[in-house]
Symmetry: C2
Subunit: 171 residues, 2 copies
DNA sequence: TTATTGTTGCAAAAGTTTTGCATTAAGAAA
DNA sequence: TTTCTTAATGCAAAACTTTTGCAACAATAA
């Protein structure tokens, strides 16, 4: 990322925070910068792990409280990625362009996709419902090209099968 | 709902379940019928409460396990409604037409909205990514017409403020 | 530099979702 | 219909994630 833009962004965060009576603590700045430079969507635990590489004393609670603040400020969005990766929430720094998350239900890969049709939808909603949109999330589930040939549905709840979801979370 | 369609749907569920090796238990049928006739999105607790009016002995676990199965079968979708109502998940029977959820960030109202532009997006994703879409979820946050004049952002984390989210869940 | 009060960390609690296991019951086969 | 196989249920307990209370700390403005 170009330095100029980075400076501008941080300046904006400081200003934004001050405007709304929030303080810009080192932890808050750290958490935001992690999301800003993240290449994938991260959940609270992942954010914590990465934050501890810089500030080993930082606590989970601080992550949660700051994600809440950053969401309020509108600089971070919360996703659930269709619950493909478990029931946790995922976060990303808000981007300039709205985009869709396209998730493969089989391999779990998540791609991003932007299109003018999304603007079309927002215009319609503004015009037809009198609704003022502040953000938009599009999540799409299906099968990616590579997974097309695999089995389309998992089998019934057998003992072995019931263990999958929780254990997926653990590692 | 017309009787014919109701019969057809239940027939489909039975067939779908059998095809995939799932059994059609009374509890499963009950849970699906609750979602099918629900006018709003329901979370697990609400589904449980309503199910107990018919089958008082039904357990929470059965709700969770069946929601998982119904999701696998593709007849139920899981939403988080932008976490406006807390962090739980919400469920709805899958509808014939894809639709958007338009949620007011201030009053919490959730409206539904359909548009051909949604089909446009799915066509693009199919063509440009080679992705086979099985469903699509659009969630939009903003301010509804009625809420436009209220304050756009809540103030900092004061003691009083921190209590809001959890206590909202409790009642 | 000082006063104010938002913020952090720690420990504990709350709430939701999952697991283990014995028992029950759906659905195919006899 | 009856029998047989095994998916599904219910109960109790556990596992996780997220929130709360509170004393100590630190970011801002005066």
């Amino acid at each position: 990322m170009p330095l100029i833009q980075e400076i501008r962004r941080h300046h904006n965060l400081a200003e934004l925070a001050r405007e709304h009576g929030f303080r810009l603590t080192t932890q808050r700045r750290l958490i935001f910068s992690i999301l800003e430079s993240a290449s994938t969507h991260m959940n609270a635990k992942e954010i914590l792990a990465q934050a501890r590489r810089v500030d080993p004393g930082i606590d989970q609670v601080t992550i949660y409280r700051n994600l809440a603040v950053l969401k309020k400020l509108g600089v971070v969005d919360e996703l659930d990625l269709l619950h493909l990766r478990g029931d946790q929430h995922y976060y990303e720094a808000r981007q300039d362009r709205p985009h869709s998350h396209v998730a493969c239900l089989q391999c779990g890969k998540v791609m991003e996709f932007s299109s003018p049709a999304m603007d079309k939808i927002s215009t319609e909603i503004r015009d037809e419902l009198g609704f003022s949109i502040s953000f938009m999330r599009v999540e799409i589930g299906g099968a990616c090209a590579e997974c097309r040939r695999k089995t389309p549905l998992t089998s019934p709840q057998t003992k072995a099968n019931q263990n999958v979801s929780r254990s997926k979370k653990l590692n």
